[in-house]
């Protein structure tokens, strides 16, 4: 086992342990506690961090894509820009791979209980998907990397198809009644994965053209193709950002939940705070 493989192994084990810790604790500790760290809160922080390191770095990827499409820059600058897009893009890819598992753990706390067989799917999904993402990234250009990249793509298609089916079924039997906003978040997630796959069709073509740019130099035809690829991918990227922004809002507002209903009825926080009492809301 070389150094990189060892690092990947430990990252995998760490992620697995973290998720298991969150799962185990989320089921045993209360959402309401204050001045203590509940594991619900730990997983919630992880959920927030996944959003932060998904959407935030994506802005950097977008800004660098402008440089790739800029024909006035030298070939080297443009290939470097494409390299930066690729490097920064690893963060969103990691975050997307873990989001369903972390979200699945959180939903248990808001009343959407999962059967044991569902946990068998939910818990390993994140670490397995993450492993695919990391191998595809670090082994890019090798046969192993290409194979794993295809597996990653297939897994994304499975998510795109299975999540809406699962949500539709769960909604039809009334399982999502206590947290309808979770259904919306899941559907948005599936839509985002789909949009990412569609954007990647253009961005993969761009990567091929960048390789040509590096080897043969720029030409008007190549520039047009590069500009076209970046332009074609943009609507999908903007749609992904909009989807993430809406999903974040749903996560905070939680429309249709008991918490939201209470808010509508104007929950009052009285003088408890001044008397050293605890807040009952987050």
């Amino acid at each position: 086992m070389n150094n990189k493989q060892r690092k990947a192994f430990f990252a995998f084990v760490f992620t697995g342990l973290l998720l298991w810790f969150g799962y185990a604790q989320a089921l045993t500790l209360s959402i309401e506690s204050d001045y203590v760290i509940t594991s619900y809160e730990v997983v919630l922080v992880l959920h927030e961090l996944l959003l932060v390191f998904w959407l935030g770095p994506d802005i950097g990827v977008f800004i660098w894509s402008n440089k790739v499409a800029n024909a006035e820059l030298s070939d080297e600058v443009r290939t470097t820009a494409a390299g930066m897009m690729h490097t920064i893009d690893l963060f969103p890819r990691i975050c997307i791979s873990l989001m369903l598992t972390v979200g699945g753990i959180l939903t248990e706390v808001v009343g959407l209980e999962h059967a044991w067989w569902q946990w068998i799917a939910i818990l390993p999904l994140g670490p397995v998907w993450l492993t695919l993402v990391l191998i595809a990234y670090f082994k890019e250009g090798t046969s192993v990397g290409e194979t794993v990249a295809k597996l990653d793509k297939w897994l994304r298609w499975i998510v795109v198809i299975s999540v809406p089916i699962s949500v539709t079924y769960a909604t039809s039997i009334g399982r999502m009644d206590s947290a309808p906003w979770v259904s919306a978040k899941l559907l948005i997630f599936a839509a985002i994965v789909l949009l990412g796959l569609l954007a990647r069709r253009h961005l993969d073509a761009m990567q091929d053209d960048i390789k040509k740019l590096g080897s043969t130099g720029s030409s008007d035809a190549l520039n047009e193709k590069l500009i076209g690829s970046v332009k074609s991918a943009r609507p999908y990227i903007f749609a992904i950002w909009a989807g993430l922004a809406i999903a974040s809002w749903l996560g905070i507002e939680q429309p249709g939940s008991a918490q939201s209903e209470m808010r509508s009825a104007a929950v009052t926080v009285t003088g408890d705070l001044a008397e050293g009492g605890k807040q009952s809301w987050k």
């Binding site: 809160e41 961090l49 770095p57 800004i63 440089k67 080297e76 600058v77 807040q279």
Partner: protein, 226 residues
């Protein structure tokens, strides 16, 4: 105090601020790191540095936005006793602070821009020390924040400290402009490459300290464990 929809609104903006701060800053960090790659041409390295500084305008904005957004949330939660006039002053100060900071960052290549940036550094230092002082006095029951909201007092104090680590980044990274100027004039030499790498390696300490502290602040805000 009634918890209204506006609380949710400010909380949402607070979260988005976090996204635009630490998340976007990853792009800045990685671009700056790549700019130290001596195998690249000077043109490519300058572009890396330039784009890093352009992306950095987003975290720069969010870092300033944290102040008024935090004040709004604190007020919504009933943990900060602040009048409308004082609130307006906080917003006005934050906007002016942001404008000065952005002007210094955008025109960093002009002498007057560097003067503005230098002035902005003083403001950062003052805000940092001021917020730490407010947190300490609040913890002693003499400050504007409710003494029972200890987690918020910690947040305020740590945000003050983050301002100081951000100032540390600015100070540590400042010689990079001079190093790149030498790179442009003298070309790549082991001495200049060593200088570039040393400046970056020193900057890494306040950079990672800032990331760590921002994540700690987010953790405290979510768990409210202290």
């Amino acid at each position: 105090m009634e918890m209204t929809e506006s609380f949710v609104f400010w909380k949402y903006l607070h979260l988005m601020m976090f996204v635009g701060w630490v998340g976007a800053d990853m792009g800045v960090f990685l671009s700056c790191k790549k700019a130290c790659d001596s195998t690249l041409s000077f043109d490519a390295r300058m572009t890396l540095l330039h784009v890093a500084l352009r992306i950095e305008l987003i975290p720069r904005t969010m870092w300033k936005a944290a102040l008024p957004l935090g004040v709004m949330l604190s007020r919504e939660m009933g943990l900060l006793d602040i009048t409308n006039t004082e609130l307006a002053l906080v917003w006005a100060f934050s906007i002016v602070w942001w404008a000065i900071s952005m002007t210094g960052a955008i025109y960093y290549d002009k002498p007057w821009g560097q003067k503005v940036a230098h002035f902005a550094n003083w403001i950062i230092g003052a805000v940092g020390i001021g917020l730490i002082a407010i947190a300490i006095t609040s913890a002693m029951g003499q400050g504007p924040f409710d003494v029972s909201g200890t987690w918020l007092i910690w947040k305020v104090g740590l945000y003050g400290l983050i301002n100081l680590t951000c100032l540390g980044i600015v100070v540590a990274f400042d010689p990079m402009a001079g190093a790149f100027m030498r790179l442009a004039m003298e070309g790549s030499t082991p001495e200049i490459e060593g200088l570039v790498k040393r400046i970056f390696n020193i900057s890494v300490y306040p950079i990672w300290s800032t990331y760590f502290l921002v994540v700690v602040v987010a953790f405290i805000a979510t768990t409210k464990f202290i």
